[in-house]
Symmetry: C2
Subunit: 192 residues, 2 copies
């Protein structure tokens, strides 16, 4: 029954990003996106509530993967080691399409306040999911909150580097995200 | 010429927050807000582009104060000491009205995804302003970014405590925000 779903979701996201790039976010309609993706408008609305939601497709999946990775880290893991496990888990769900459309999504977001707002709320959601998963491990509130914020910053930086970098360099998203987390941890020692 | 401005801005914000509390954000129109505040719709639009902007009124002022405080901290100040100076400067601009309407604004934001998005982007803007001010002091990128994020978390926590707390306790917003920053700094040592 859901056999068509993965393909349609991905086609809709790619079609939308192409149209946003070509003619801007505001000028792009749901009908145009559906047509470009080769689906009906009602299929569009089975996947997304509106065109804005296309650009944060996968937020719930990403939140779940980050939280799962944190939950399943060894009990001896420090808060940041647990976050790193979450980053690795979430990175595993990102494929070539995510990498390819990443820069175009960032360009569309940079050009639209409406998308910036939605993107900012996505970050809040990811941080909340990680904070909750850390708290469930017994990490105290301020530490959990802080570790989750570092996790979001690291994932965003890792993703940006990965999707803009040389695709033949062989360094994966997970390694880049964890390296960004290490940089942030190192920066804590110079906060004063 | 601008003599009417401060009063009208504040009246519009209070009127809007009252209406959002009474009947919800979605059901509240610009006309109702203007009428409640005793001004015309065109006066409303001289102050705000739409009703959503009411709830982040003062974002630019707040960004400027945070950045000014950071810029004017002694050259010997550590990154977090500079952020604390920014928090103190910004706190000085918050008065009894801010304190009184704070909890109602948070309730309105909690009830509206649209407002959550706008609020999330406000935090991004405040962090960007602080990051830039820290970078201008020569603080390296990751440290500046991290210190700014801690500053936003601290200001939000401090403001929430201040506006929800016992108004006779005598502890000001600045002290609460700086205490929250101290808590976050302490939490960095248990990140692992």
């Amino acid at each position: 029954m859901a056999r068509w779903q993965p393909g349609a979701t991905q086609r809709l996201v790619v079609a939308a990003v192409d149209l946003f790039t070509e003619q801007g976010y505001d000028a792009t309609t749901v009908s145009q996106i559906a047509e470009r993706a080769g689906v009906t408008k009602s299929t569009f609305f089975r996947h997304f509530s509106d065109k804005r939601e296309l650009l944060v497709a996968g937020q719930e999946t990403l939140s779940r993967l980050l939280a799962d990775g944190i939950a399943e880290a060894p009990s001896s893991a420090t808060p940041l080691e647990a976050v790193a496990a979450g980053l690795r888990r979430a990175s595993g769900a990102m494929g070539p399409t995510n990498r390819e459309i990443g820069p175009r999504i960032r360009a569309a977001v940079a050009a639209s306040t409406e998308l910036q707002e939605r993107d900012a709320l996505k970050s809040v959601g990811l941080a909340a999911a990680m904070t909750e998963a850390l708290a469930a491990r017994g990490v105290p509130g301020p530490t959990a909150h802080l570790a989750a914020e570092l996790g979001v910053l690291a994932f965003k930086r890792g993703f940006a580097e990965w999707s803009e970098g040389d695709s033949s360099d062989g360094e994966g998203l997970a390694d880049r995200a964890v390296a960004a987390l290490d940089d942030l941890r190192a920066a804590t020692s110079s906060l004063g």
